[in-house]
């Protein structure tokens, strides 16, 4: 039996209340939108790139606590990382929340708070929405 605290850990509640890097970006190199028509969650992600490195990242939009907290933590994790590292995190995060790997060893430990999402299949798309927007932005040709 699950209870609310397994999914809504204090880190998630904190990032929902006070999302980090939560602003639009005027000068950016890449941008993409993530939108889930089933529930209406919608986020835009902006990136600044210096060579291969994500020098700045921000997001804005509306969505549930899981989607907002996930996007917030994502921006913290990928800022200063290379594009390749960010894409590696995307794969690892997606696998973790869909239950494909037993534990989140390969991922930054802070992202492990979302491990509980695998018990809530209806919320997986919430957790990955920001990451999908990030991946779309990274994959775009300039």
């Amino acid at each position: 039996m699950s209870d609310a605290s397994e999914l809504y850990q204090s880190v998630i509640l904190d990032h929902n209340r006070a999302p980090r890097n939560y602003h639009a970006m005027d000068q950016f190199d890449r941008t993409a939108e993530g939108y889930n028509p089933l529930c209406g969650d919608q986020f835009t992600v902006w990136l600044k790139l210096e060579g291969d490195t994500i020098s700045d990242v921000s997001f804005q939009g509306s969505g549930c606590a899981i989607s907002k907290a996930s996007a917030s933590l994502m921006t913290m994790m990928v800022k200063g990382k290379t594009v390749a590292e960010a894409e590696h995190y995307f794969d690892g995060f997606r696998d973790m929340v869909t239950g494909k790997v037993e534990n989140a060893e390969a991922l930054p430990r802070r992202l492990a708070v979302f491990a509980g999402v695998r018990e809530f299949p209806s919320r997986v798309k919430c957790a990955t929405l920001g990451w999908h927007a990030l991946k779309t932005a990274l994959d775009k040709e300039q």
Binding site: A4, S5, Y8, R17, D41, G63, C64, A65, R123
Partner: protein, 422 residues
Amino acid sequence: MATPQVLAAPGAVVTPRAFDVARVRAEFPALHQQVNGHPLAYLDSAASSQKPKVVVDAEHDFALSDYANVHRGVHTLSQRATKAYDEARAVVRGFINAAQNEEVIFTAGTTAGINLVAQSYARPLLKQGDEIVVTEMEHHSNIVPWQLVATATGAKVRFAPLDDQGDIDLAALKALIGPQTRIVAVAHVSNVLGTVNPLREIAELAHTAGAVLVVDGAQALPHVRADVQALGADFYVASGHKIFGPNGIGFLYGRRELLDAMPPWQGGGGMIQSVTVEGTTFAPVPARFEAGTPPITQAVGLGTAVRWMQSFDWSAVEAHEGELLRYARQRIVEVPGVRIIGSAREQVSVLSFVLEGIHPHDVGTVLDLHGVAVRASHHCAQPLMRRYKIPGTVRASFAIYNTRDEVDALVAGLTEARKVFG
């Protein structure tokens, strides 16, 4: 273990049963289970209703002993199946007081029915500059088919506004309807707000302008009776799965004179008079609009569901649901930051609300953890959400089998959500 309910033969006169919610619940095995360690409180009948055992048994028994293809085959089983299928149609006719059986067309559901009217009635008729009037409260199934046909014909879709309580602004609706209006398409009951619309007045506005009235009855029939002739509906659509019947079947009522003039929607077997290489002539209604092998077993299930509903003194059911709605609206505002969306003059027991600062998704998940099933989304009514400037609502819907205890469980879950999110 409930005594199996024996339904009277179609057309027989019955004394309605006194309303006893415990006895009703005993007919729904699905309601008696635990979810996440709590008794299930199924408050999502507006999305789809549970089915009483008598409906499932009727389909089961039919499939195992009377099933064959219909359309008056020469063998005995086919005749039995055809009789059962025709009887289901007659039951629906009586339920909505259509003038004749031929005015009841079995469809795949409400959405299919509205698409049928849009493509077969509206599309041949509409010209550049013609208008279809819908309302801001409509479900996407009563918006998108009209948008598709408007794009194809050069017609326009206009949206009648609502007031903040969730009633249609009738003055604004009247101003929108004019000589250019060909169709007025309106929900009988809103699936989000619970609003019951004044169809008689709307029918008069439509007919005075020479337009037809298409009514989306999907959310109405679980709660209130519809007499299509008294309401003045030219077309009325509904789904089986919302009225305690099976999925994959619904019905479209259309006035005979309108249906007779409509070209077919889908072509194929069962809807023809004769087929030659030069061309084909079409069957009369209702067959003209029932191409292919119909959902026969599901029709038996639908007929049984309707007869099950008719076995109740429905005014007692309405009183029960009205009391649940009143109790829910009273208790729910005990939770800090609850805002009810929709307080129309007349409502069925569908209650939408938001919790300030907590996304509907998160509320829904916390409620699920307490065994309470609600729907948290835009409810296929994005224009309505935009009108209220919200991403979605939490919607608790109360049907014939729900109880005051379940309202209490809902409120306990919401209180927990407020604790978790602050």
